[in-house]
Amino acid sequence: MAILMDSTVDPAAPDPRSGPSEQKTGREPGRRRGHLARVDAAYGYAFIAPAVIGFVVFVALPIAGVFVFSVQDYNSLSGRSDFVGMENYERLLASDVFGTVLRNTAVFSAFVIPANLVIGLVLAVLVNQRIRAIAIFRAAFFVPVVISLVAWSLVWEVMLQDSGGLNGWLAMIGIDGPNWLADPEWAMTSIIFVQVLKGVGVSMILFLAALQEVPVELIEAARIDGAKPRQVFRSVILPLITPTVMMVAILATINSLKAFAQVFLLTEGGPGLSTSILGYFIYEQAFKAFQVGFASTAAVFLFLIVLLLTLLQWWSRRRWVFNES
């Protein structure tokens, strides 16, 4: 890095040509270096231009757009948009449906995020053993990650039918399973289950990488001091892997908030509204009910929730995440 700085001169530094001493001792090199730094910076801007322009058009503009649409009423027949002020917000906040959707989203995330942390860590500990063929098991837990969410949801749709595989096997051990996807008591549980199985492999791999970076000497030192395995885990390993705990929590939060396909494929938000979460609700309102303004307002809420949670997690980071420096 230091060498790089040397060859490229900080653009914020005063122009070397302006100094009289510079002019005497090395005017030509000074000018050349300033020139080079500018040319280099121009290359920098050119190199990032495609990504930055793409970001503006396909990310920033849509985010701004969703705020604009949320104060409009779009008529799909005339194709006209009328300004309606906060009307969509009032309608949305007054509707029982949206309250239920928010509650469902909270329940969904409240189970998916801790499940990713706990199960991910347990799996990582399980596959962090030096035993033969452990790589096969690591790969096994990763299989749902690589196959598509659609394929994963569809096969679980088959297995979770009333007379699908799962209840058949449960009957063999004397359990009378519910109609998983059609029972309002169980539909959300099923969606959460399918989501966690699909993604927990990533959490496992992240935790595994973190566990393998914990210095062996520290664990040994604690053991010699008489710490039991559980104490070693709690007091030595866990504090050291808090950055990964943070990472997994953020990833699981984002993934739980953008869940859509599994709801669309397994329950379509039902039965009733029992599995309608925000991501699905936005799609349904925008592309099935054609309530563009209303759906955009819900999308604004989703955006604000993501923003809030991200800020909260970054703020809380200082309080509990171990920092090496």
Partner: protein, 308 residues
Amino acid sequence: MSRELTTAAVVAPVDARGRRRARRARTGGPDRRTRLGAIGMYVLLTLVALPFVFPVYWMFSTGLKTYGDVFENPPVLWPEDPKWGNYLVPFTSGPFLQQFLNSIYIASITTIGVLAVASLAGYAFARIQFRGRSVLFVVLLSALLIPPEVTIIPLFRIVSAFGWIDSHLSLIVPAVFGVPAVLGVFLMRQFFLALPAELEQAGRVDGLGRFGLFARIALPLAKAPLAALAILTFLNSWNDFLEPLVFLRTQELWTVPIALQSFTDPITGTPIWNVQMAATTLSVIPVLAVFFVAQRQFVQGIAGTGIK
């Protein structure tokens, strides 16, 4: 177990040997307890792994059943008379081959585009000094936090303004320059940051310009992260669901995930389960095949976005 022994051996070798001898005497055989423990561990691992891998088998075997056998009780693990023909039905009854090819070419073009956009920008963010570099990078990264449902409605308008509704451009262009590219920028920057500066200085001496340094020196060294990024991008494009669902209309233009959920009875709307599972299996096989061949790149690509 082995780690505990080595620890003890380092600290007090004599004591460790003595303890081991004592244990052997107690259990009446060498490592019998360890072996039993190992078997128990494998049983446990297998049980835990079951819900992760068994569905893939169930996908495959359901694809071989008759429609009536799908919900047979007790469940049929392997049909007596496997209907291999089910695996041909998607191709004969609809444009599944066309949809498969659509997915392959969309994912391929998207991948090539993302590699180009991401390696250029990732390189610049790591190795070139320019004003606003770190701010721009953080702003770009924020794209990774936004759920696609937030932006899908305005994106639909933008895509229709370009005239791309019901065209594959609606899937390719926003991916090449949008969120998947940002993911790539992040991955490539991580790699280029670690590149020794001496290499570029040598290139400078040889008279290479900035683009030469990037294309002739940095990029050839980046094969590993490029491979990981390629696999990740291809996989994400192959698996995309929301965007093709919203942007594509014509059946012949659909991608595989949209096609899979369309194997339904035209009158009742219920899925034709066995054919659907056959098609789903076909869609999963190439991905799993590549996964088992290039496991390391897969894991690096997917986990690399999380590891700092």
